[in-house]
């Protein structure tokens, strides 16, 4: 473990303590109700553009702890969102997870930006950003998730396996936003898709020009060409000024800095989709284009690295989502999966979006194992680790292997958190 990582641990520990996850806070008599409204010396004037309180200091963290980025060295590709202190279902854009395959956001002048749609179409057209904004817009709640999120095998598996892993380490490669833009089907309708076309190839404008093949059926179904996120323009690291949104599917599909859509009759087998994202099976075959993310849930409080400070009442709360549709049910177990109780689902419950759940619970000081499992409106239930290993034809030891090249995506096993007698919470996947 690098010293950077240790520092980060220290920081997270302090952060968890600061967050005041404690029954004590409720009964505390020392709370200051009224503070003087004089700004502290040297504070920025926040009337024109706001900032969060100086007491709020959650940040994204690199998946491999190889950050900050040092030019000329190996670097982090993925940056995880701090789910442990997430509130509700919207991820603030500055904390939304990032994966850009090592490419930095291009500096795009929105007045110069457009997206070309060509290939098997009646009319090749370039739509400027301004023109896209003139079209009827829609806003939809959707999660994004890296296919490697919460995966135990693979290069990012190690930090998620250790007992000290936080929910940011285990599940931080998902986030949820209100996305605003134009249905891709509308733009495809404008260019006139020709008979025989069956796939699109979407391309970004960054160095490396990330490319992804997507079935036309999905493109015409619910994909968005989005320019807005949570009421503002996309952030540069989220694809400013334009990105593709492919709801419920692996993050790799959601091409950022979108500049081109090529209508074709077969998948184009770009580098990422054909060589990096397939999941290898033990028989030597690989699954590729897995696309849809399965039903998944995780308890965010109490979760790994947090500390219960006293016996008594807590709400167990977390997030559930599914690429197949809306979350219909979340169950919570406090006895390691022997018995389950239905959690309350908070509104809004949108298809292919994070859904917040909660269950009232009283901790009596015993060691307990907290778990959650969700069911979506297709009837798909989040699997146990045992069910998942059976599906993959491996045993659980496979996931205990050191970081390997067997990068198995779409890992959605139930996540257990162990609450020890001293109130500490730790990762208990293994």
């Amino acid at each position: 473990m690098s010293s950077k990582r240790s520092l980060r641990r220290q920081f997270l520990k302090n952060g968890a303590a600061l967050a005041g996850f404690a029954a004590g806070a409720i009964s505390s008599g020392s709370t200051t109700l009224f503070a003087a409204d004089t700004p502290s010396a040297g504070a920025k004037d926040l009337h024109a553009y706001g900032e969060r309180s100086r007491f709020e200091n959650d940040v994204r963290i690199g998946s491999l702890a190889l950050w900050p980025i040092v030019p000329g060295s190996r670097r982090d590709y993925g940056f995880r969102s701090p789910l442990q202190d997430s509130i509700g279902i919207i991820t603030p854009a500055p904390l939304h997870f990032i994966i850009s395959h090592g490419h930095e956001p291009p500096d795009i002048d929105p007045r110069e930006h457009g997206v070309m749609i060509h290939g098997m179409v009646d009319r090749t057209l370039i739509f400027s950003l301004d023109e896209i904004k003139r079209l009827p817009s829609v806003s939809r709640l959707h999660f994004l998730e890296c296919h490697g999120n919460s995966a135990a095998a693979g290069i990012t598996g190690e930090p998620r396996k250790v007992p000290s892993a936080t929910v940011q380490d285990t599940h931080g490669l998902t986030s949820c936003s209100v996305w605003t833009g134009v249905p891709l089907s509308l733009l495809l309708g404008q260019v006139g898709v020709q008979k025989g076309a069956s796939w699109i190839v979407a391309e970004g404008a960054e160095t490396g020009k990330h490319t992804k093949s997507i079935p036309l059926e999905k493109a015409m179904d619910d994909c968005l060409v989005a320019y807005g996120q949570n009421g503002e323009a996309l952030r540069p690291e989220q694809g400013y000024p334009l990105r593709l949104l492919v709801p419920g599917w692996q993050g790799i599909n959601n091409v950022k800095w979108l500049r081109r859509i090529y209508v074709v009759d077969q998948p184009y087998m770009a580098m990422m989709e054909s060589t990096k994202y397939p999941s290898a099976r033990l028989d030597g075959k690989s699954r590729w284009f897995e696309s849809e993310m399965g039903p998944k849930s995780v308890i965010t409080r109490p979760s790994g690295g947090q500390q219960l400070s006293a016996h008594g009442f807590y709400e167990i709360t977390g997030l559930a989502w599914s690429g197949g549709g809306a979350i219909r049910r979340v169950e919570v177990s406090v006895d390691g999966g022997r018995s389950w109780k239905d959690a309350q689902l908070q509104q809004p419950i949108a298809p292919k979006a994070h859904t917040r759940f909660g269950l009232s619970w009283t901790w009596n000081g015993e060691e307990v194992m907290l778990e959650s499992r969700c069911t979506d409106d297709q009837g798909h239930v989040q699997p146990t680790l045992a069910e998942l290993t059976k599906f993959w034809g491996v045993d659980a030891d496979y996931f205990r292997l050191p970081p390997t090249t067997a990068d198995m995506g779409n890992f959605n096993a139930i996540q257990p958190w162990k609450v020890s007698r001293d109130g500490s919470v730790s990762n208990a996947l293994f």
């Binding site: 060295s73 190996r74 070309m116 060509h118 009319r123 057209l125 370039i126 739509f127 400027s128 023109e131 003139r134 079209l135 009827p136 404008q190 260019v191 069956s198 796939w199 190839v201 391309e203 160095t207 490396g208 020009k209 490319t211 079935p215 036309l216 059926e217 077969q266 998948p267 184009y268 087998m269 770009a270 580098m271 060589t275 397939p278 290898a280 028989d283 030597g284 075959k285 690989s286 699954r287 590729w288 284009f289 897995e290 696309s291 849809e292 993310m293 399965g294 039903p295 998944k296 690429g323 197949g324 798909h380 599906f391 993959w392 390997t404 090249t405 067997a406 990068d407 779409n410 959605n412």
Partner: protein, 194 residues
């Protein structure tokens, strides 16, 4: 009787005329600009497995060796063995039916056209687009030759590159993705496609 049937018709007509002013499809059919042929060509960088977008030009491993030394070796190693900065391009062959399969270019990549496409769009970092079509054919030939996938003297061009069969072409399921657009039809369940 006549009037009573005429009046509603007029009302409907009036409504239709009114909404036509806001009608959607015709209303925004003027949006979007038609690019020139040259513009389309300049923007289109996608090379599919059939290679129909591949440009003219050609190259051999011998020509590629020199370009590799000056443009690629600094990160990928003098013999394509890889480094902390860039993946291995030569070697790494071995069985895939293990918990630690080697997912190198030679051992794993299903299509040779992907090599051309990726060099063209992404390499070398910060100098993307600096290599000519022939340079890229030559580099592709060099990498494939060093991996014993093509003979040293083979000329790669738009016709020959798509015909190169990569060792792991048949290692993916489902084999013919283009036939199966629907996830449900692929038998996906709980996020996994068997």
């Amino acid at each position: 009787m006549r009037y009573s049937s005429f009046l509603p018709a007029l009302a409907v007509f009036g409504l239709a005329a009114c909404s036509a002013a806001f009608a959607q499809a015709p209303g925004y059919s003027n949006l979007g600009r038609t690019p020139s042929k040259e513009e389309i060509q300049a923007w289109n960088q996608s090379i599919g497995p059939q290679g129909k977008e591949l440009p003219p030009g050609s190259g051999t491993a011998k020509q590629g060796e020199e370009i590799f030394a000056s443009k690629c070796a600094a990160c990928h190693g003098a013999n394509g063995e890889g480094s902390q900065l860039a993946p291995r391009l030569v070697g790494g062959r071995g069985p895939l039916n293990t918990p630690t399969p080697s997912r190198t270019l030679a051992n794993y990549w299903p299509f040779a056209t992907t090599i051309w496409d990726y060099i063209n769009r992404a390499m070398p970092p910060k100098q993307e687009g600096s290599l000519s079509g022939s340079d890229i054919y030559a580099l592709t030939a060099f990498i494939l030759y060093r991996n014993d996938i093509i003979p040293e003297g083979q000329v790669l061009d738009a016709a020959s590159l798509p015909k190169v069969k990569m060792p792991n072409r048949d290692g993916f399921i489902p084999d013919r993705l283009e036939d199966i657009h629907s996830l449900r039809a692929r038998g996906c369940n709980a996020g996994h496609c068997p």
